[in-house]
């Protein structure tokens, strides 16, 4: 039954990743899709069918020559662009520092956003400050946009006495109500359909709040992804539904998540306007998200977005991608690097220099180190102090019931 064995035909198709260690990754050269290829329909009147080309093409703004053009150019001023660059750099430098801490035993676990920094940063910048963020573990960067204190974030990752979720979840599973950033859960995809409920509640209450959520290409195989699209299709609440197609779900290539080539176009079957966006193009991501926000504000319902990108790092600190993909595959990605591309654009328009960039990177690194040191004053991983054992028993219910109280007394801490 194996190839070359009893027969030459596989009994059913088991996809193989296009490139494995030892192969030369080749994505077919630069994108064929160019900025200016696609129109920008009216977000209020747009029907799903009008986005057929957008779901099958690729929305781009930043060209290969680092200039911005086309109908989707959001025409952002230099100050906003520099802010975006600074936030992406902050996320990357923060992640670098944290992964180093993990490697030296100072954090138990970590997950980086490497190569995907533009997603959480550009998309959150395109929203109102009080819109709900319902992230997966790959969008902690949204917190930087909303100004969360890095000390607080690191305290959570250590799980020390100042962890606002009291050492209850693994690192990177942030929760930050003040920033409208909803608690991250490990089971993948659950947030996607829940976000539709959050958006329905906003509509019910008459709040002008949209909800944004993300899943990965792998997770789009889960029922929750399809529940979310279907409920959004029926009830048309103000929600922005993203599939981050970063090519990999741990070791599993996206060709196991779908037998088709395209994630965005699935939304069309649900009657939801759908876009495929270059996920390493800060401006395109910002612009499409702004479009979706305008549509949500007009009461016209959901937008479905495939964010087309590449997971440049491992799935997590527990993962070693060199076992299952070529080591240089990310460097071959035609979309390049999101931070580098925005930097080059800013230099191209004369608003930025390499010297300023280096200075800013150093400044951020110093801030991250200072934040890490301050966070450790509330307890480090090796020595604590940690949240007291009594926190095991609190907030299980609104008030502690008798049986939980008895167990707390039995532990005696």
């Amino acid at each position: 039954m194996t190839e070359g064995g009893k027969g030459t035909m596989e009994p059913y198709t088991v996809p193989t990743a296009p490139f494995r260690p030892g192969d030369e990754a080749d994505f077919g050269g630069p994108w064929k899709e160019q900025p200016g290829d696609l129109s920008r329909p009216d977000p209020v009147t747009c029907e799903a069918s009008e986005t057929h080309d957008h779901a099958h093409g690729l929305v781009r703004v930043l060209g290969d020559d680092d200039t911005a053009s086309g109908a989707w150019n959001p025409e952002l001023d230099a100050e906003t662009l520099i802010k975006g660059l600074e936030l992406m750099m902050r996320l990357r430098i923060f992640d670098d520092r944290m992964i180093k801490m993990q490697r030296t035993g100072k954090l138990s676990f970590y997950m980086r956003s490497l190569g995907e920094e533009a997603i959480a940063i550009a998309q959150t910048m395109a929203l109102d400050d009080t819109d709900w963020i319902f992230p997966s573990y790959r969008q902690p960067g949204a917190q930087f946009v909303r100004g969360r204190d890095m000390v607080s974030m690191i305290c959570h990752c250590i799980g020390n006495t100042e962890d606002n979720i009291r050492g209850r979840q693994m690192p990177v599973h942030y929760s930050w109500k003040e920033g409208y950033f909803i608690s991250i859960s490990s089971p993948v995809g659950t947030q996607f359909s829940q976000a539709v409920g959050v958006a329905m509640a906003s509509a019910y209450k008459g709040d002008d709040q949209a909800t944004i959520t993300w899943v990965g290409d792998g997770t789009s195989a889960q029922g929750d992804y399809h529940y979310g699209l279907n409920f959004a299709s029926v009830f048309k609440p103000p929600v922005i539904l993203n599939v981050v197609n970063n090519q990999w779900a741990i070791s599993t290539h996206r060709n196991v998540a779908t037998g088709g080539e395209n994630f965005a176009a699935r939304g069309l079957a649900y009657g939801i306007p759908s876009f495929r966006v270059d996920g390493n193009d800060f401006l395109a991501l910002y612009s499409v998200t702004k479009w979706a926000r305008e549509r949500a504000r007009a009461g016209k319902g959901a937008t479905h977005i495939e964010v087309y990108t590449y997971r440049a790092g491992g799935h997590s600190s527990s993962d070693d991608p060199s076992i299952y993909r070529p080591g240089d595959e990310s460097e071959c990605w035609p979309g390049g690097d999101p931070v580098d591309r925005l930097k080059k654009h800013l230099i191209e328009i004369g608003a930025w220099t390499e010297k300023k960039d280096e200075k800013l990177a150093q400044q951020i690194d110093d801030e991250v180190m200072a934040a890490y040191k301050e966070a450790c004053t509330f307890g480090d991983l090796a020595n604590g102090p940690y949240p007291p054992a009594s926190t095991i028993f609190t907030e299980v219910y609104e008030t502690v019931p008798w049986h939980v109280q008895e167990q707390r007394e039995e532990l005696g801490k």
Binding site: Q169, M170, P187, Q222, G223, I250, Y324, I392, Q407
Partner: protein
Amino acid sequence: MTEMNMIQSLNSALDSLLDKHDNVVIFGEDVGYFGGVFRVTSGLQEKHGKHRVFDAPLAEGGIAAIAFGMGLNGLRPVAEIQFADYIFPAYDQIVNEIAKLRHRSGGEFSTPVTIRTPAGGGIKGGHHHSQSPEAQFTHTPGLKVVYCSNPRNAKGLLTSAIECNDPVIFFEPKRCYRGPFYGDPHNVPTWKGHEDGDVPEGYYALPLEEARVVREGSACTVISWGTMVHVAQKGIEESGIDAELIDLQTLLPWDRDTVVNSVNKTGRCVIVHEAPKTSGFGAEMSASIQERCFWHLEAPIERVTGWDTPFPHTTEWDYLPSPGRIAAAIKKTQEV
């Protein structure tokens, strides 16, 4: 016999069954090329072919449903759910479909699915990489539920689970993949040199539904499964009491005779599990033991369990039953 850790012994069981039975297929998230996030299926795709060992889409409900269908139509599917915490999207397929097919069809159809899943705490996994949801499945007629504790019984029991014509949920204590765990996170041995790290090569089966007496004793019966077998062993040492230790191995249907005979002999009983206390499998055992052993019991049955709270991250050593808590419970049974 070969020295193996639990990952190697599980791999060896799967390898031998792929060799022995043409209809065994293995799938789950990352189990194919990569060989699983815990490497239990490492090398099997390369050796046995990609249609026999393959990556599934990231959808536990789909994985269980595909297993149902394959098993119904003559295959012997072995599905991996990457962490037991992620089994719940598959719960409907397991509880309402896989478990009930034989009964609902008047015996016309059945599906010999095995679902392997790493379970339990002790790896700093927080809420969603630490739970031990055996009781959610022991409450489901039609399933068999197995919980291995060492490399040897992991291999022997997995072999029998896969060859069993009823569906089996097979829990693997991930804390013990690379070594036994005695409750001290700062002193974690490997399986090297442990008698249960000596595992037969090739085909090797151990019977389901039989408990294992780990240590004979006269003063108290301690019953456990998974990682807690080793922690209980340490707890018995700390107590200084001559307790008998039973590794239950199969939870549904469980080996009542071995347990009842032991409790009738010792007159005292402590049940240890890491899952929460309320409606944990210890509750079922305690009820059954008092039904059968009431006139032999010298003290109330004690349960040492995880607390009735979500599993924590930072404070997991205060959550899991410790040797100290187990020793205290054993001593308490002696005070009456």
